[in-house]
Amino acid sequence: MFEAVSSGLSLLFTLEGTLYLFLGVFVGLIFGAVPGLGGTTAIALLMPLTFGMEPWLAITMVGGVMGATSFGGSVAAILLNTPGIAPNAATCFDGYPLAQQGKAGMAIGAAAAASSTGGLIGVFTLIAIIPVAKLIVLSFGPPEFFMLALLGLSAIAVSTGGAFLRGLISALFGLMLALVGYDAVSGGYRFTADIEYLYDGIPLVPALVGLFALSEMINLTVKGGTVATKEASGKISGVWSGVASVYRNWAILLRGSAIGTFVGALPGVGGTVASFLAYTATVQTAKDRETFGKGNIKGVIAPESANNAKDGGSLIPTLSFGIPGSAESAIFLGVLILHGIEPGPMLLIEEENVVISIILALTASTVLASLIGIIVARQLSMITRVNVNILVPAVVAVALVGVYALKGEFGDVVLAMVFGVIGFLMIRYGFPRITLVIALVLGELAERSYHQSIAMADGDWMIFFTREISLLLFIVTALCLALPGLRFAFGRRPFKRGKS
């Protein structure tokens, strides 16, 4: 093992290795930052370049992309309220308000530090649990997936931002949207109005681009001015204070990374769920809950550490079973196949050097991407001071091109525009968008795994409580829902009594 690592390292530091790593990081950052594109598109585009290459070199480049996209995406989320890739959606909620207050530098600094630290934790966890990886992947069946989705959905309760009823309406709307398309359980098509485009459901990325980027651009156009409000447009600084804030909030960083690694390791769940769980866990346990959504730096640290940690985590099922834990790792498998390496449960044994190449590249990439981010954070933050008359057309054009480029599907562009209008109306009438997104992201997983669990148990719903992990997740969910009430009941009573 050590021999393989040192030979891997010496390969990485050859001119070729460093060059392709940098190329991967660079492409990853850009593709992450442009809404709609993202890591899978980047890797798919780079794939033909790797035809004649040595496998390890191709893998190094892919690792570079994987490690860099989620940080690239966070920059767009913070500056423009537009998640560069879906897992950055949760970063918008506090990142963008920070940018509006002129603290974009601080938010980017925090995102950079949280991303690289989270990424490193994810990779180290991967290395540590490779020996027991199979056990972990196997302990999560449909009942556990359902409980995990329920835990995520319970977060809706604390994410309504004060508008409880409207928050629930948004969430129900999100659940309805999640039901559109092919039902993997019954095999039927639902709510598709016979439109072939809707057979696969509402695609997440165009919907998010609409809900966040386009709606915000409409909103800005209506308001005029710049992203950062006038009072806030003093000197842009605070990159380092952002970095420092990450390590001051080390508990949130560690929890976010743990959630990211863990959720990443579950095939079919993905980074978006990971970052939402990390965000909502932070909100639910925070004492200053009411400041979230208004520019709390903790709301950037949690999702950003999670969505980078998930890369390491997602390699756990990829390497132990040949089952991708994320979209990027699915393409990574494609690259392996292209180079004649058969992914599957034998990968760890037969292709140790491949495994080491990807781990090293991922490690180097997360750190490198964040360093680049910190260096250019100040220049990037200037975007928040660009007048909307210039900013809006540019962002709308880039976002729509990105959405189109994703699959070359014009329907995606139309869908993004429809969601742009929906998002704008939601802003206008005070309906929180976060609850819609949580429901849209988790609805399908919750429904599918519920049906599967019930089918597994021949209709007996006790299956959710007789399996240890499932039961544990249920208890955590119940606690999360009860916690605010308990805190209210026990924490505030003396204070109130004293007052009356």
């Binding site: 196997l138 092919y182 072939e196 485009y197 494609g334 992914p343 034998m346």
Partner: protein
Amino acid sequence: MAYKSTIIAAALTLGVALPGAAQAFPDKDITFIIPYSAGGGFDRTVRAIAPYMEKYLPKKVNVVPKNVSGAGGRKGISQLFRSKPDGHTIAVFNIPGMAIPPLLGEKVNYDLGKVSWVSRLARGTYILMVGSKSKIKSLADVKKLNRPMKITTTGFGSTGYTASAVASTVMGIPFKMLTGYKGSKQFILAAIRGDGDAVYTLVTTVRKYHQAGDVRVLATFEEKSSFPGVPTAREAGFPELEGMSLERLVGGPPGVPVDRIKILETAMLKAMADPEFKAKTKKRPFLPAGSEETAKRVDEVLKFYLKYKSALGKKG
């Protein structure tokens, strides 16, 4: 046969009106539609052959694989049917996968009887497997379950679901479907995990899991078992299951001139015979067949599944 008359009609038109067309073909890049997403079995098959196909075309053009995934493969094939039948657009077909929705009475924008078939690339054969920790050790144990065998698979109407239903019916195994998994790797994992009892999947897909000791193969539908000690369907008394296969075929939209099909067919067959290509795909051998044989094979497979239509059950 509808496709034959189409081909003849096309040939006549061409012979009369376009004598110079053959020499000019191909005069631009050939788009090779993959109706599934990147990284899967069909994607892999096409991306492996494309560069070698280029090598054997009479003129130097690129063969560009294009993933048009969606609606269980229907979107890509619909796109093929809308393209110009000039031989510059071809696609890889999943038979029976693409034949099942129309068989079940669902609306599709294509007619498999009218495809201009080019060649076969590969054929997948099925096996029946369980997780290696399962109490089921053999086909005989399945009968001793005293309850329906739970099969983890993809949704109703999918290739996996159909194969599972048909094979179980042929072998007389009572079964219950546990659906909703997003592909063969996911439902193999589900069987290893113990969500359900068993899985029907392709020999090529299961090979690695078998080597790693994660799964136990109960029966193989190959003509000669490639898993030591595992009986074939014929040995188990179900020879008709050898006819149940997953064909990866190449075809163009209806009405591609027959001389152009010939050029594409020749390039494809030469590509699959290329020694370098053969060496590269040793682990997953291709099974070439020409245009005519492919069309015949489509008919056979469709007939096989049509025979068991009642076994497919209903949505729900």
